[in-house]
Amino acid sequence: MTKKEKIILIFNWVKNVIVLIPLILAFTFIFGNVYGKTFVDQIPIAVVDYDNSTTSRTIIQQFDESQGLKVARYAKSDSEIEELIRTQKVYAGLIIPKDFEKNVKQGNAPKSLYLVDMTNLVIGNNAFAYGSEILNTLNAGVQIKVLEGKGMNSFEAGKAVTSMNFVQRMVYDPQMSYMKYLMYGIIGIMIQQTILQVLAPVLIDDKRKLVKLDFKSREWKKCLIGIVKKVLIVSSLSVIGATLCFYTICKYFNLPLRGAIMNNYILLIIFIVDMIGVTFFFAGLFRQVLPCVQLCMFLSVPSILTCGYAWPEIMMPAGLFNKVNLIWPLGCFINPMRAINLKGTGILTIIPYIKGGLIYAAIWIPLGIGFYSMRIHMDKVIMKKVNELRQDAIGLS
């Protein structure tokens, strides 16, 4: 090995270590901070108050004082509100009609309108929830007054209004934070992408070397041992990277790791083994590193969207989830990982995913390595043929 080759080799491995550990750690910090604010609050809204009465002003004040919403614009007409929503200056609008207070007092149940822009469902759902909560609370207060007006005493009226209550509880994540929802999946994606980005080029380079070597030579065996070593190094670095990511989300972003840590590692190791199988397949498929790297770059979004993580499994067409899991192993890793860490799910519940991951490995490891070996053999035959022809051509000339 020349000095230049040695420098390139060292540079490549330094780059690989950076990709496998500090890079995914840096992205964990970045995404953790991006999703750091749990709530989507202070959503700008607009109001049109045609009534301008004490009651209408109280309603507007309630909206403005709520943590979730802020009255950003006072519009003069319905169309102005719609225009403000269309230009995304506000995401919701409240229209209080004329004679609102008078009609409330007379028991005519005046109609007000709450408009919500659902272009971005995350903002829209929050604006809707905050707004309806305020309006329902206000309604309850007025209901008591109406009942009192109809001759009920205040105790009875209060009892009637609060007669039927419902308590809604979000289990495992009361705040419904986006970070808890997505972070485990993002870590899975990062591990997937880094293994592909690091291991595939290494295997393609070694494939080229193996094509040139004699099957029975000592170099051939040395190269094979080298491949095993590299696979083990990449796997170990991935485990270290994943461990640091888990530590980071737990320590700095307060994400729960409720279940047994060991279960996370069982899933992680199976996933890494699965990824090794796929990477061998990719390395067999491509002769050059560049197109392989280019193709692998496309995989993050489709793998998370089709594995039942972002779009739930129960909403996918029948059978698709199982088919996807046979083609790509991410679903068998990130879905149970979220369940373990958010719900504290035990081993029994994640066994189907472990089985899925193992079946995947049982198919893809032999398939990947077999395909990789077959390509080496094929390239050897082609190279031999070309060399023979070259010799013939030299002989003829």
């Binding site: 604010k37 272009t119 009920m152 489709p302 996918m316």
Partner: protein, 388 residues
Amino acid sequence: MNKLEYIILAKEWLAIFKKRLMLFTMLFAIPVSLSFLFGYTMEAKQIKHIPTVIIDRDNSTISRSITEEIRSNEIFDIVSYSQKDSDIKDYIEQGNAMAGVVIPEGFYKDLQAGKGPNILVLYDASQMSIASAAKSRMTEILLTIKIGYMQDVMEGKLDVLPSESIKAAQPMYFTYRLLNNPTKNYVNFLLPGMLIAIIQVGLIMIGVDRVKEKDEKFKYCIFKAICWGVLGAISIAATLWVQCHFFDMPYKGTLTGGILITIIYSMGVVSFGMLVMQLIPNKLLATQVSAVIVLPSSILGGYTFPLMAMPDFFKNLGSMLPYVHFAEPIRDLILKDISIKYIMGDIIWQLKFLVIVWIALAAVFFGKKLAKELWHKRKQSNKVVEKI
């Protein structure tokens, strides 16, 4: 021509074919086929049939009517009627249910006695999209039942006429109107941005790929950026057309505006890829760096989790991404009947970005050329000195 020459020629042609095939794959085959795959995966479009457990320990007329309301709603699928509270926990923990309703024993009796009994509703928040849809529909159902019950109370206790009781039960009648995506269609909300994020990766890598060492003139670089940018725009249009044509995604806004912003954005991203390649001459490294730069765009750009909820630093960073000024206007054009003036700000932003990238590209291109010439001259003069 002998056999060897044929083989060498065939090999060269095969290499060219493979290169073209890869470009076609990145630009058209992957985005369009993924558009079909995503459309098929998310064909349900809205969250429905959420597996739900009901524990009705009261078994009264009202508790049965609550159960019936939930059962007949398309959002919920009742997977179990149970009597044990722990069943909900088990079902949710094992992922067999995602919502649970507990109606306590003596509910109706307590209701009549005015004791304010509670109905407990539990949601599995580990799957946010489901929990959010379930909560919003369950609230509607329970509020409707509550208002119905209050009407009954008023009619019974206060001798109010049915036409009057509805007004008394809801003294302030608030109507809710959901604009632009009233059915809360998840596909229309999510897929445009996700597909654009995928194409963006392809565009930037094509930008990197298309820079050649032998490029002598800057105008060739610009010409390539324009040509590949237009092809990229066709790819974006084809990918979204698949959604519109096969999966009922609307396109309500201006077509001219949509085409204009798509072409400018596409050229900008391809040019940015070229700039990265000019800065990092190693193609493999440049490909990896450029892809890593744009891959987190859909997260940093606030396409789902909005920029307004991010810390200021990320808010500012996000607003500097071309993705933000393209994916969001495209979603707006899909969901809103808007004219070009509504996206003019974003078109101008994309135009500015394109010009800045071209200026930077020119600076790096001519800077490198100048450095090369100076290096060459220095080498020449060294040779002359050596000779002397």
